[in-house]
């Protein structure tokens, strides 16, 4: 039944920085006949286990007229199944000592249960029920539509700058499905029909579009047996999933705009079109982001925040499967001028485009990354999530043991090269967020 054992116990084959302390996450991977990919990492140090499933479907797979669907669907998969009554899903997990949750991004949807390790079989049963024959009735659909709309209000509409990502992506992408936010348009959510829901389920919630990850306290033979027991007979997907192949054209010139919102401090967002997660350029940009804004001695902190040119600044990349965005932002101090914040950000950008960063800065950025990589291994749920993403995006869960090398061989020349390549004005959307009162007085 084990079609292929891809990898047993990865060891001693990684190139690391000279002085790096190595973490080893041994994994076993294989495919079931129905195409479900399985990843196991055994860690018997405490009696806990995490069972997770990542489906390769996110908001970028949605129809432009039906946005928010992947996420609405995630809510609906807590409704129940042929064998789990409506509203019982969460209760069963919690009343057996577990926690569960799920989340949706532009690219994938992730479900997980954290259980006492003697409840491994229960979690596998529940996730297999969800994959094989989830049951969603019209009461459930109506309820979750309202819940999702409230979620949108809580996260975006009633949150200062909460809509910034939506406002940025709709200007930064013309064709690619990254142009709408995962939460979707409330109108589309309200209009979703029962048939839409069923079609979506049949197409994407199939074993050959998913990865099952088990991390924690189990015995391998037993875990493998249970995986077959519950997932072995789930049929493969019957339809071919057509992934969008849209390659967004270059932005072709700076886009500038202003959003008047319920905010008190003006803010500026600069979103640069950037490379996909996992590419060489992506990692080089991450090092650049670290130099700009991670740590108290970073350039933004030192040259902008501490000089009172902003209340807060930051830079970050969105880790997206297709080319995405690298976003820099600044929030002005009270009474401060947002133009001054913008000038200060531009000054820092010019500086990394025109000059090499120092060796010391590079060293700091790599030290920061090394610490982040180690800390991310402190819970089995983080490890499971990382393994699931590496498989879903790169078909290479082994990357978890090689993370530092993505950064440790980046040079000053490369940092300058990606700064020049991506951080140029014609490649960005610049968005001002101003208090509504300023609109009236315009």
């Amino acid at each position: 039944m084990l079609k292929k054992i891809l990898n047993v116990c990865i060891a001693a084959c990684m190139v690391f920085a000279a002085n790096a302390q190595k973490i080893n996450i041994p994994i076993v991977e294989y495919d079931l006949n129905n195409g479900l990919h399985v990843i196991l990492h055994q860690d018997n140090s405490t009696p806990n286990v995490v069972v997770s499933l990542m489906y390769h479907v996110g908001s970028k797979d949605e129809n432009p007229d039906k946005t928010g669907f992947a996420h609405l669907f995630e809510h609906l998969l807590f409704e129940g199944s042929e064998n789990i009554g409506r509203g019982e899903y969460m209760k069963i997990v919690q009343s057996n000592g577990g926690e569960l949750n799920a989340n949706t991004s532009n690219d994938r949807t992730y479900y997980y249960e954290l259980m006492p390790s003697n409840q491994l079989e229960l979690a596998l049963w529940m996730e297999s029920e969800r994959m094989l024959h989830a049951k969603i009735d019209s009461i459930g659909i109506a309820t979750q539509k309202n819940v999702v709309i409230e979620e949108r209000k809580q996260r975006m509409d009633n949150q200062p700058y909460g809509s910034f990502l939506e406002e940025v992506v709709k200007r930064a992408f013309k064709e690619h499905n990254y142009r709408w936010p995962t939460i979707g348009d409330p109108e589309h959510i309200r209009n979703a029909s029962d048939k839409d829901v069923l079609d979506f389920y049949k197409l994407y919630y199939v074993p050959d579009n998913a990865v099952l990850v088990i991390v924690g306290d189990f015995q391998q033979d037993n875990a493998k047996k249970l995986v077959i027991k519950y997932f072995g007979d789930i049929p493969r997907g019957k339809q071919q999933i057509k992934r969008s192949t849209i390659v967004e054209k270059p932005l072709g010139g700076e886009i500038r705009d202003t959003v008047y919102d319920n905010v008190t401090l003006p803010a500026i967002f600069m979103a640069y079109r950037s490379p996909a997660y996992g590419t060489k350029d992506f990692y080089a940009l991450e090092i650049l982001n670290a130099i700009l804004s991670r740590g108290n001695s970073s350039r933004f902190k030192d040259n902008i925040d501490d000089k009172k040119k902003a209340a807060q600044t930051y830079s970050m990349s969105l880790d997206l499967e297709n080319p995405g965005l690298n976003i820099l932002f600044g929030i002005a101090n009270i009474g401060g001028n947002i133009k001054e914040t913008e000038d200060a950000l531009n000054h820092e950008i010019d500086s990394v485009v025109n000059y090499y960063v120092s060796d010391e800065e590079l060293q700091k950025a790599i030290a920061t990354k090394e610490m982040e990589i180690v800390s991310a291994k402190s819970s089995i749920s983080n490890i499971a999530h990382t393994l699931a993403e590496y498989h879903t995006y790169f078909k290479n869960a082994k990357m978890i043991n090689n993370e530092l090398s993505n950064f440790s061989n980046i040079t000053r020349e490369e940092v300058k090269r990606v700064a020049e390549k991506y951080l140029k004005p014609e490649n960005r959307v610049v968005l001002y967020y101003l208090p509504k009162s300023m609109e009236k007085s315009k």
Partner: protein, 514 residues
């Protein structure tokens, strides 16, 4: 080669077939025998200057942290309210031997993270840099320099964050709730204005350091990839000469809950939702005799996705994305809070349902099934909390701080298991008070009128977010900015949250987490 493939296919068919024969999917799997939850012991030692040190060795990951907790009373500062916040902001920016820039660079070069504020301090990093980390942080803690330049920067930042809060309904709620529950003459409810912050001098900040940061009032927790011997060496080397001193103590009149329900409304123009918080102060100390039953009771009432509040307000009525409650223990005064962000036009109905659930858990005994579920969840959470080595350190600190029996946490599961339906009812009667609460709403005042039935005095009391009564007909136009002492504003969080539109099903229950 060919043979292998055939065997594989046959095998696959067999297994599928046998599955169809034997697997009855309608049967919910039973748990396997549980693996024992092992609780390690922390190592404890005390220096002559009174510094108590708790060490938990855990070599799984090459990282270590040193965490200092200052166990001191809060002082009321009156006209200079905000000293603790200003102190927290400036502490850790410079030392007698290092400028701000030198200090920050030194920490960043080893990727270490650190913080120093009025209640705590920590440094964490990779264990290979341990000696450097401790050396740097000892300098921060023992030889701080508070500069005028930093004071000036801090004032600007604090005043800006006040402005930010005015646009954030959930932070407004946090502030106004603390003020209304505790009153302005209690340190938990003390506010400061921009004017008060401006009065604070370097001398005040230095005075705070000299008065309150003392080894005899500090617990140091060391967790991670370090041996006891190394921990002892580091501590001896850097903290042996830290001088002990007398630290003043402060006692206050305890805040009391309203005699009857009061409705407080904070208007926020154009609010997309109403924030609701039903809350009151209550005497509830860490690890008191009711601790286990009260936490189990609040779990059943509103602890997560299976809690009654969530099930009622979200799953049955879809008023909200989530509704939870909290009974918060505190060394001075605890509080109870049930809260949700709800659709504007159901503000009144949501309050109604929350109060209904509060009353129900007092009036009607929970079922044996609900009790068993809650116990199972609490046990599971306890087991999960032990994944983090810091949990063991937290247990050791609690045992020492609250004089608990040495086996208190080792008996946790046993004690939990012994709780009965009657215990839950008793805890509900003692801690749930739907008739003596503040019903606080931050939202658009258009929806305020419908809330009159919930105010026992028949009137909606309008406040600004700083707990000052306002005239409901006058729009807020105050230019004075106030700020609540003790609230740390982390603007960044919203961006991290926004980074991925994650559909969090329920709040992390970190009751057992450190």
């Amino acid at each position: 080669m060919k043979k292998n493939i055939i065997i594989l296919i046959t095998l696959a068919v067999c297994i599928t077939f046998s599955n169809a024969q034997t697997l009855d999917r309608s049967i919910q799997p039973k748990p396997a025998p549980a693996n024992e939850i092992k609780i390690k012991d922390a190592q404890i030692f005390t220096l002559d200057n009174g510094l108590k040190v708790f060490v938990v060795e855990d070599h799984k990951l090459p990282q270590v942290y040193f965490s200092f907790q200052f166990d001191v009373d809060k002082k009321i500062y009156g006209e200079k309210a905000g000293v603790t916040d200003v102190f927290s902001s400036i502490a850790g920016t410079a030392t007698t031997s290092k400028t701000k820039s030198e200090l920050n660079k030194a920490f960043d070069l080893i990727g270490a993270d650190f913080n120093f504020d009025n209640e705590s301090g920590y440094v964490s990093g990779l264990s290979k840099y341990r000696s450097k980390m401790v050396e740097l942080f000892a300098d921060v803690l023992l030889n701080p320099v508070f500069t005028e330049e930093e004071l000036d920067l801090t004032k600007t930042q604090i005043i800006s964050s006040l402005a930010y809060i005015k646009s954030d309904a959930s932070q407004m709620m946090q502030i106004v709730s603390q003020i209304l529950m505790n009153g302005k003459n209690h340190p938990n409810g003390e506010m400061f204005t921009a004017e008060k912050v401006k009065r604070i001098t370097i001398a005040d900040v230095e005075e705070y350091y000299k008065t309150f940061i003392a080894p005899n009032k500090t617990r140091l927790v060391i967790v991670g990839d370090i041996t006891l011997a190394d921990a002892k060496n580091e501590v001896e080397k850097y903290f042996k000469n830290w001088e002990k001193r007398e630290v003043p103590e402060y006692k206050y009149e305890q805040p009391v809950a309203p005699q009857k329900n009061r409705v407080a409304f904070v208007h926020k123009e154009g609010a997309a939702q109403s924030e609701i918080n039903i809350c009151y102060p209550i005497d509830y100390k860490f690890y008191n005799n009711d601790y286990f039953k009260a936490s189990l009771m609040t779990h059943i009432l509103g602890g997560g996705a299976s809690g009654r509040l969530f099930q009622n307000l979200r799953e049955t009525h879809s008023y909200t994305y989530g509704c939870y409650n909290n009974l918060v223990a505190n060394d001075v005064i605890g509080y109870y809070s049930a809260s949700a962000s709800v659709r504007n036009d159901v503000t009144d109905s949501a309050i109604d349902q929350i109060l209904f659930e509060l009353q129900r858990i007092i009036d009607t005994a929970v079922s044996e099934k609900d009790l068993a579920s809650a116990k199972a969840f609490a046990m599971g959470s306890f087991g999960r909390s032990l994944q983090q080595p810091g949990t063991v350190a937290r247990f050791a600190v609690a045992i020492e701080k609250y004089n608990l029996p040495a086996d208190y946490f080792k008996n946790y599961l046993k004690q939990l298991d012994a709780l009965t339906v009657a215990d839950i009812k008793e805890a509900a009667e003692k801690y749930i008070h739907p008739q003596n609460a503040w019903i606080i709403v931050v939202g658009d005042k258009k929806y305020a009128d419908k809330l009159k039935p919930y105010a026992t005095n028949g009137k909606i009391e309008f406040y600004d977010m700083y707990g000052n009564p306002t005239d409901e007909t006058i729009d807020e136009s105050d230019c004075t900015i106030y700020y609540l002492a003790g609230i740390v504003v982390v603007l960044l969080i919203i961006f991290i949250l926004m980074k991925r539109s994650a559909a969090k099903r329920k709040k992390e229950l970190d009751k057992h987490r450190s």
